[in-house]
């Protein structure tokens, strides 16, 4: 618990850290201690990345693979949100539904999303249906849980006040319950997007004929470490962009509610 450090010092140390990391990597790759096929240097990975932007590998360019992955991701994620959020809200409002669904949900939660791959392939094939189901399996639980929490932990005084004033129940739902669950739902969506994106990569490694995950598996089969690493960079960048977008949405909504300090 050392004393605070200045912003300048913190930025400087940050750059030093990055430089050490990249320098160590580059040095190790250039030293010849490890073979180049095994560990390409960061510069080679960057070169490969830029080449992949234009040249086709495993059937498409890197943007092409990314587009294929992203399309699947969007379907699976939207499906999970469209089913998960209403289900979570209803579970939060109606105790009976909560008591019926919770045991099933708890049992299914321990099945890792990726363990659905064989059934997904069996039921929906390996084209677009199977991967969508895996994304759905990954993105669904956080949607449900957070919508549930949002609906469950509404300030009871608000509902009591509304009831006392004789507000009809559909208006209570629309004007109190729904708006006060929104922040929790948005954080759920952020977790969902992260897990969904990760599940997609897993699904594409195992069953797919296009997408970034598929490109990486092909790179691995061809012992092209640079392709694998370029794929990792691309996946990381898209994941980061998704997370930042939802984080921004979270902040905008909180600010509008006056929840940020």
């Amino acid at each position: 618990m050392n004393r605070e450090i200045s912003l300048l010092q913190s930025i400087g140390l940050g750059f030093l850290g990055l430089a050490c990391f990249l320098g160590f990597w580059q040095g190790l790759a250039m030293s010849g201690l490890v073979s180049n096929i095994f560990l390409p240097s960061p510069i080679e990975v960057y070169d490969r990345f830029t080449t992949l932007l234009e040249r086709r590998f495993a059937g498409a360019t890197l943007p092409g693979h990314l587009a294929a992955s992203f399309q699947r991701f969007a379907y699976g994620f939207l499906l999970a949100a469209a089913i998960g959020i209403p289900l979570g809200l209803l579970m939060g409002w109606y105790q009976l539904l909560d008591e019926i669904v919770s045991p099933l949900f708890d049992a299914l939660r321990f099945v890792a999303p990726i363990a659905w791959v064989p059934f997904a392939a069996l039921w929906f094939g390996t084209g677009i249906g199977g991967p969508i189901m895996i994304i759905f399996a990954g993105a669904f639980p956080p949607c449900v849980i957070n919508a549930y929490r949002g609906a469950k932990f509404v300030d009871p005084r608000l509902i009591e006040a509304a009831n006392m004033l004789g507000t009809p129940s559909h208006r209570v739902i629309r004007e109190i319950l729904l708006p006060s669950s929104v922040p929790s739902i948005i954080s759920g969506l952020r977790v969902s997007a992260g897990l969904g994106w990760q599940s997609l990569v897993g699904a594409e490694l195992i069953v797919a004929s296009a997408g970034v995950g598929f490109m990486m598996v092909q790179g691995q089969a061809n012992v092209s470490t640079t392709t694998v690493m370029a794929g990792m960079v691309a996946i990381g960048l898209v994941g980061l962009a998704l997370d930042s977008a939802l984080r921004l949405a979270e902040r905008i909504i909180q600010r509008r509610r006056g929840l940020d300090n």
Binding site: P103, I114, V201, Q220, M232, V233
Partner: protein
Amino acid sequence: MPRRITIGLATILSVCTLWYGLTTLFGIIPAGRFPSPAETWSALIHVSGRGYGGGDLAMHVYNSLRLVVMGFLVAIMTGVPLGLLMGWSRKAEAFINPIFLIIRPIPPLAWIPLAILWLGLGDAAKIMVIWFSAFVPSVINTYTGVRNIERPVLEAAYMLGMPKFRFVTEVMIPGASPMIFTGLRLSLQASWTTLVAAELVGAFYGLGRVLNVAQQDLYPGMILVGMIAVAILGWGTTRVLGMAEAHALRWNTAALAAKG
């Protein structure tokens, strides 16, 4: 609470009845899509007796469990100290954080092809990916836990001139431990997901291997057995961790209970 349990049991019972009805009695779900209870049972007998996908059930379970435990232990033994260090020193935080920021967005599953390239299909590659996936949550939560220790506690420790070592063991670690355990739970979940994925991509034995072979053989009963086994193991290890947490945080829950 009893009402909850009754309804829960009724739900599970009706799902089982529905399963039996749809697959066996009315045959609405074809056997090639989803197994009937009888088929699942025979698959269980098959894998635990004669064996399937290179070994019997006990061996697959043993191998998966062993890899998860090893990867998880390596991850927390490296992750928790690093988190403590980053929480302890602002300089270490400033130094390490940017590296973390660029590695963190890469999902653990994306390391699998690289791990296979580097280490092949054996145990080492699995442990490497599990390490990567379980490492990040344990670092971040430990670090957050240290940062969230209340200031007066830290100041009191300083004022009383506590030696550094005792400060770490008696203030920092206990103060951060609720968050550390949250991180461990996330790490454990990530370990299972990653292991199953890694074994599905390529392995000689393990539950993921069973799933993979069953998928290729179009053997729905065996797929279901594999999934149930993964779920039970995930649940069991989470329970063990929960017990460890309850034991380690006795003082904390006791204090909370006393406060009312």
